[in-house]
C-alpha cells in the first residue's frame, strides 16, 4: 500500500484531554501518512475518497451536539463504512454521538444521537467519574491487555448484544455495573478510554498498523520508550493496592 490517509473529524472542537496525540503518534509511526483535518463546516473526506482510518476524539458537551448535527446526514455512509471493515476509532465521549440518545438533565437537554448503536448515555455533570481500566482485547494475547484511563461525566447503557471493545479485568466498563467497555462493530472501535489509547498501548498500535497496512511491517515511533512505559504501567496496574474501591464494577442494584 502507498501512504496511509487518516481523517480527523472536527479537530477544532474534538481535541480534549490530549487525545489527539493518538493521531500525532500514529503519524510518527507512519511518516508517509496524510492526515486530513475535517472541520465542522467541511464535508468529510471519507465520503469521497479512500480514508484508511477515521478518527473522532473527545468533545465538550456542546461539541457532542455539533458532531451529531454534522454527522447526521452521513449516518448511512458511516454505518456502511463500519460494516465494510473501514477502520474507525472514536475515543472518550465521541462514541456516544453514535448512540440513540444523550441525556444531560443538569444542562437541560436530551438529544438524539445518530442511532447507529443501541447506546443510551446519561451525563452527571456533578459526578465526574475517574478511574483506571485494564482488560484484554482480541487483537493481542491476554498478557498484553489494554491499559488506560477514564475521566468522564457520562455513563453508557447498551442494549444486549452490543459487542464491547474489551472486557475489563480491572476497572469498570461502559458504566459502573458492567465490565464491558466500549463498542466494536466491523472496522469500528469506540472506547471511552483516554491516555491516549494508541500512545499508552504500543502493542495494540502495532496491531492496528498491521491491519491498516498488511503489506508493511509495522514500526512504532520511539518504540523503546513506548514499550517501557507500557511495561511499567502494566506492572503497577497489576498491583491490587493501586485499585480503589470506586474503580470496581458494582452489582446492579436489582441483583444485590
Amino acid at each position: 500500500m502507498s501512504g496511509l490517509t487518516i481523517e480527523m473529524l472536527f479537530p477544532e472542537v474534538a481535541n480534549l484531554h490530549g487525545d489527539n496525540a493518538n493521531i500525532a503518534y500514529l503519524a510518527q509511526c507512519r511518516p508517509d501518512a496524510e492526515v486530513v483535518r475535517t472541520g465542522l463546516n467541511d464535508r468529510p473526506a471519507f465520503l469521497d475518497r479512500q480514508v484508511d482510518l477515521l478518527y473522532l476524539g473527545p468533545l465538550t458537551e456542546r461539541g457532542q451536539l455539533k458532531a451529531i448535527d454534522r454527522l447526521q446526514p452521513y449516518r448511512r455512509e458511516l454505518e456502511a463504512r463500519f460494516d465494510s471493515g473501514g477502520l474507525t476509532l472514536f475515543t472518550h465521549n465521541a462514541l456516544e454521538v453514535l448512540g440513540t440518545r444523550i441525556r444531560n438533565p443538569e444542562m437541560g437537554y436530551e438529544a438524539e444521537g445518530l442511532g447507529i448503536f443501541e447506546l443510551e448515555t446519561t451525563l452527571a455533570m456533578m459526578g465526574r467519574y475517574s478511574g483506571k481500566v485494564m482488560g484484554p482485547v482480541a487483537e493481542l494475547p491476554d498478557e498484553q491487555p489494554i491499559v488506560g484511563y477514564k475521566s468522564q461525566f457520562s455513563m453508557v447503557e447498551a442494549a444486549p448484544g452490543v459487542e464491547g471493545f474489551l472486557t475489563a479485568a480491572r476497572g469498570i466498563g461502559r458504566n459502573t455495573s458492567t465490565a464491558v467497555e466500549g463498542v466494536r462493530r466491523g472496522g469500528f472501535i469506540g472506547t471511552s478510554l483516554i491516555g491516549p489509547l494508541l500512545v499508552v498501548n504500543p502493542h495494540f498500535t502495532r496491531a492496528l498498523l498491521a491491519t491498516l497496512d498488511p503489506d508493511t511491517e509495522p514500526a512504532l515511533a520511539h518504540d523503546e520508550y513506548a514499550v517501557k512505559a507500557y511495561v511499567e504501567r502494566l506492572r503497577e496496574f497489576r498491583d491490587d493496592r493501586r485499585w480503589h474501591p470506586g474503580e470496581r464494577v458494582q452489582k446492579p442494584i436489582a441483583s444485590r
Binding site: 477544532e12 472542537v13 481535541n15 480534549l16 484531554h17 490530549g18 487525545d19 489527539n20 496525540a21 500525532a24 503518534y25 510518527q28 472541520g39 465542522l40 463546516n41 465538550t60 458537551e61 456542546r62 455539533k66 444542562m107 455533570m125 456533578m126 465526574r128 475517574s130 478511574g131 483506571k132 484511563y149 475521566s151 461525566f153 483516554i194 491516555g195 491516549p196 500512545v199 499508552v200 515511533a221 520511539h222 520508550y225 513506548a226 517501557k228 512505559a229 511499567e232 504501567r233 503497577e236 493501586r242 480503589h244 470506586g246 474503580e247
Partner: protein
C-alpha cells in the same frame, strides 16, 4: 439563632487552632457549614463583596485588590491567608463579623475556586465578580473550560457586575444578558503571532456559525483577540486596556475607560499584566479615584512567583514549579524555560506522586501539555526522574527532543546527581506541587552543591 451558633462555633474553633499553633484556616468554616449549611448566605456580609475567580491569577488579583483597598483605608475581609473553597470563604466571612454577627468590614474580597461556584455563589451573591481567565486545568476535576464557565454562569445572580477578560472568549462569555459587565484586555504586543499552536486549544470556532476563527493576535491556549471571517462575531471590546508595556522602565499604560495613565508595572510576565489591568478595572468599577488606582501600583508588592533563581559562580540555578496534572501550566513553564538565554540542562521530576498514593491516576495531561517548547538547541540535556519517567521521555521524543538529550532515572532525585552541569549556563529544577518540599528541595540542594563545586574547580 442557628447562624449565631455557627458563628460562635467557628470563632471558638479558630481561637482553639490559634492557641494550639495549628494551621487549618478553613476548619472554622467546615464547623460552621456543619451547623448551618447555608452559612455563606446567612452570615452578614460586608456592604460590598467582590469575588475573584479564574484558572490562573485569582490569588494574585485578590491579593492585589485587598492590598489596594486596605490602602484606601477600608476594612477588608478576605480569605487570602486561607482556602478558596466554600469552607475557606465561610471562615473568612465569619472572621469578619463580631460575636453578635455584625459585619466589621467595609468590603469583602474573596478568592473563589472556580469549580466551587456552585457551593459559594448563591450564598455569597457578590456585587462584583472578576474572572481572570478560564483555561484547561485538571482533566479529572475541571474537565474543560466550557464546563467551568457553565458552573459559574449557572450560579451567577443577574445583578452581579462582571469584570471579564476580553482576550478570553470563554471567560468573556460568562453570565447572562442581564449582568452588567466590563472587559479588560492587554493590547497587541509586537511579539504576538496570529496563528494558535499547541495541544490545548479551546474556543477556536465561532459560537454563532462554527467557522474557524481568525486571530488578530494570539498569546496562548485561547487567549488573544479573534474574529469570525464568516459573520460579525468578534472578541468583545475592552474598556480597560494595558498597553506600552516597558519591562526595563517598569511602567505600563493603563487605559481606564478612555482615560489613559502611566502606572508602575507590577510584574512583566504577561499573565501578571492581565492581573494588573484586572485589578485596575475592578477598582474603577468600585469607584476608587483613578489617580489613586494608578498610585496604588507604586506600592503593591510583586506577586509571589512560582520560580526562584540564584547565581552560583557563572551559572544560574532556576527552580520552576511545573504543575503536573495541568498540561496548560506545564506548557507555560516550558515556554518560560526556553526563554532563558544560554545552554540549558534540565532536571524534570514532575510526576504527582499523590496521584498514585492518594487518588486515581490519570496521566493523559502529559498530552495536553506542549513539550514542543523544549525542542530547542539550547536545551542540551533533559534528565527525567520518577515512576512515569518513560511516559515523560516518550512525550519528549514525540515532541521532537532528540533521544540523545534525554536520560531517565527511577528516582526523582537521581537526575540531580547525573546531569552534566559542566557546560550549562542555566540549570533547571522542574518539580511539581506535591514533591516541592520533598524531592524538589533535595534536587535543589544537590544541584547547588554541584554548581558550587564547579565554581570551586574553576577557581
Amino acid at each position: 439563632m442557628r447562624v449565631l451558633l455557627a458563628v460562635w462555633a467557628a470563632k471558638l474553633t479558630g481561637a482553639l487552632l490559634r492557641a494550639l499553633g495549628r494551621q487549618g484556616t478553613h476548619v472554622p468554616g467546615i464547623v460552621a457549614r456543619r451547623i448551618h449549611p447555608g452559612i455563606i448566605g446567612a452570615v452578614q456580609h460586608p456592604p460590598r463583596v467582590v469575588a475573584v475567580t479564574g484558572t490562573n491569577g485569582k490569588t494574585t488579583v485578590s491579593n492585589l485588590l485587598a492590598e489596594a483597598l486596605l490602602g484606601e483605608g477600608m476594612r477588608v475581609a478576605s480569605n487570602r491567608t486561607g482556602s478558596n473553597l466554600a469552607a475557606g470563604i465561610a471562615a473568612a466571612l465569619i472572621a469578619a463579623v463580631d460575636w453578635r454577627g455584625r459585619s466589621r468590614a467595609d468590603i469583602g474580597v474573596f478568592e473563589l475556586d472556580e469549580r466551587s461556584g456552585r457551593l459559594v455563589l448563591p450564598g455569597l451573591h457578590p456585587d462584583v465578580l472578576v474572572c481572570t481567565n478560564l483555561t484547561r486545568d485538571s482533566i479529572k476535576r475541571n474537565a474543560h473550560p466550557e464546563y467551568i464557565a457553565w458552573i459559574l454562569s449557572s450560579e451567577l445572580a443577574p445583578d452581579t457586575t462582571l469584570v471579564l477578560n476580553a482576550d478570553d472568549l470563554i471567560a468573556s462569555s460568562l453570565g447572562g444578558e442581564q449582568n452588567p459587565r466590563v472587559h479588560f484586555a492587554v493590547e497587541r504586543l509586537a511579539t504576538d503571532p496570529t496563528t494558535p499552536v499547541g495541544a490545548a486549544l479551546d474556543a477556536m470556532t465561532c459560537p454563532d456559525c462554527d467557522a474557524l476563527l481568525e486571530w488578530d493576535h494570539w498569546r496562548f491556549n485561547h487567549i488573544g483577540r479573534a474574529h469570525c471571517p464568516s459573520c460579525d462575531f468578534r472578541s468583545p471590546e475592552a474598556a480597560y486596556r494595558a498597553r506600552e508595556i516597558d519591562a526595563d522602565g517598569e511602567y505600563v499604560v493603563l487605559d481606564l475607560d478612555g482615560d489613559a495613565r502611566q502606572a508602575r508595572l507590577v510584574n512583566d510576565n504577561i499573565v501578571n499584566v492581565y492581573n494588573q489591568i484586572a485589578v485596575a478595572a475592578v477598582l474603577d468599577v468600585l469607584g476608587v479615584d483613578r489617580d489613586r488606582i494608578v498610585r496604588a501600583f507604586d506600592t503593591l508588592a510583586p506577586p509571589t512567583t512560582r520560580f526562584a533563581s540564584e547565581r552560583i559562580g557563572d551559572a544560574q540555578l532556576v527552580r520552576l514549579l511545573t504543575k503536573g496534572l495541568v498540561g496548560v501550566a506545564c506548557s507555560r513553564a516550558f515556554e518560560y524555560l526556553r526563554s532563558f538565554p544560554g545552554r540549558k540542562a534540565v532536571v524534570m521530576s514532575i510526576d504527582e506522586w499523590s496521584e498514585r498514593e492518594n487518588e486515581v491516576e490519570n496521566t493523559a495531561w502529559i498530552y495536553d501539555a506542549d513539550y514542543e517548547y523544549l525542542v530547542d538547541d539550547s536545551i542540551e540535556q533533559i534528565a527525567v526522574g520518577g515512576n512515569r519517567r518513560y511516559d515523560q521521555a516518550l512525550r519528549l521524543a514525540i515532541a521532537g527532543v532528540h533521544p540523545s538529550r534525554i536520560t531517565t532515572f527511577e528516582s526523582e532525585t537521581a537526575p540531580a546527581d547525573h546531569i552534566d552541569v559542566a557546560d550549562a549556563d542555566v540549570v533547571f529544577n522542574l518539580h511539581s506541587v506535591h514533591n516541592a518540599l520533598t524531592t524538589g528541595d533535595r534536587v535543589q540542594e544537590r544541584l547547588r552543591e554541584r554548581l558550587a563545586a564547579r565554581t570551586g574547580e574553576r577557581g
